[in-house]
């Protein structure tokens, strides 16, 4: 089952000249002993809440679980911060700086941990980049090629929620939106809330296109939190078969 039909371009080969060749990432999806579960959805879809509940549950079962968040590489952080603070990021440099961040996390933690048999949980993954960058006007194929080095997740959950529900949840909890978060760089509207609405609408449309393209597992994010979580746990449970590969904390 190939969930990424449009990813035409391969990644780097894991390549050390004097040592036996390790399988290239592109071909080794599914062969790592670890498991990779990721959550996607627009802001306010409740995906982070669901992921932290999943995290708690997996830990309570004794699994070795590691969490990795979008845009969190210590190596690239200063560059991203500089770009955002000075508002000097274009669609292309925004895309590349996030890809660099993701590459660092992949090479430094996600990949080695999967090889070691850990369960890796990611709050946002390459699909976030696909949705946002394309919403900013980047070429769809170029962005998919860019992330050709990514490990394919065991399960990619997509928390589907209507735009208005998500915005309602967000407006309850905060004063306003940040510049890039609201897509203000696109010049859609001078009003941050209106800009956010338009930008998230575009992102939502991109997510919907990716459901079929990448085989995302859709969760109805308008359901009660508990109902969503038991669905998520049931799906994850199926993927934990052959537990001998996985590492436990005990």
């Amino acid at each position: 089952m190939d969930m990424r039909p449009s990813l035409r371009v391969g990644p780097f080969e894991v390549f050390t000249p004097f040592h036996p060749t390790v399988s290239p990432l592109y071909h080794s999806n599914g062969h790592f002993p670890g498991r990779l579960f990721i959550v996607e959805g627009i802001d306010g879809s409740g995906k982070s809440t669901q992921l932290s509940l999943l995290h708690r549950w997996l830990e309570s079962l004794g699994y070795g679980v590691v969490f990795s968040e979008w845009n969190s590489s210590p190596l690239v952080k200063d560059t991203t911060k500089l770009g955002k603070k000075k508002k000097m990021l274009t669609a292309a440099s925004f895309s590349l700086v996030h890809a660099t961040d993701f590459a660092d996390r992949t090479e430094r933690s996600i990949l080695p941990l999967l090889k070691a048999g850990a369960i890796v949980l990611c709050d946002r993954y390459v699909y976030t980049a696909f949705a946002r960058d394309v919403a900013r006007g980047m070429d769809r194929d170029w962005v998919r090629d860019l992330y050709g080095f990514a490990v394919r997740p065991t399960v990619a959950f997509y928390f589907r929620v209507p735009l208005e529900t998500a915005i309602g949840r967000l407006l309850d909890g905060r004063d306003g939106f940040k510049f890039y978060e609201a897509g203000m760089d696109l010049g859609l509207s001078d009003d941050p809330e209106e800009s956010f609405r338009l930008f998230q609408g575009r992102i939502l449309a991109e997510y919907e296109k990716m459901v079929g393209e990448f085989g995302l597992t859709v969760i109805d994010a308008t359901l009660p939190i508990e109902t969503q979580q038991s669905e998520v746990r049931a799906i994850v449970q199926v993927q934990l078969g052959n537990e001998s590969e996985l590492r436990f904390r005990r």
Partner: protein, 290 residues
Amino acid sequence: MRETYGKRLPEMRVSDLKGKLIVIEGTDGVGRTTQINLLKPWLEEMGHAVLDTGITRSVLAGEGIRRAKERNSLGRVTQTLFYATDFVDRLEKEIVPALRAGFIVLTDRYIYSLIARASVRGADPRWIRSLYSVALRPDVVFYLRLGLEQLIPRVVFSRGFDYWESGRDLFPTLDIYESFCAYQSVLLAEFDRLSSEYRFEIVDATLEENQICAELRAGIMRVLEPEQPARRDPAWPRTDWPQRTRDNFESAFRGAFSAALAHGARTERTSSLRAESSSRNGNGRAAYPK
């Protein structure tokens, strides 16, 4: 009209870029900077406005790359993408605006060095070319070519061996001299390949400084003469993608080891490494779709 290598960045108008984009390429130590420092005042004397730029000089990522390199902790994909970030920032914020304003842009290395570095580290040739398909095609690429034998004294007797330029990340078990030789020879082989793919104008860098400069000036004059049609690179996208660099890589580093053997250096270990490398030829190579 100016074109890119396939993809255009959003909101990048390329129809009115009336300046000239001139690339000086070559490995470390061939004298690129010296030549640019000679060419810039010459062009300005003729009345041209000149922008000179080069790798890691972007406001956005230059500092970040320097800091990351100091820590020697950059993964290969991360390193490649960090450089791409730097490149795109300069492309959008410096190169394109300067070309639009009618400047001559002299760039110390362009995407080719970045492609070469990533390729010798095992990057998929299609991946790296897709990444840089957003780059503008330059008017001319001068490749200052110097063989390994001529390169060694220049590096030894100037700044010494640098961690990255010696490929220490690729050859951690070799000493820095052997590592430099092995790395530079695969890099030179890669440049030769890129040279035909992207139609470099090869300049013999063994010549005297002023002779090299004269050749470059003559080449630049050909670009500036309006009646001469501009050179065009081969059609894009390509269908005859180059083989993985590693295929060349293995033969190249076997060559480097033969050289080491000739000097009687580390005979024992080298021969065991040679045996290891040749035994991998048969089944160790990754199969890639054509």
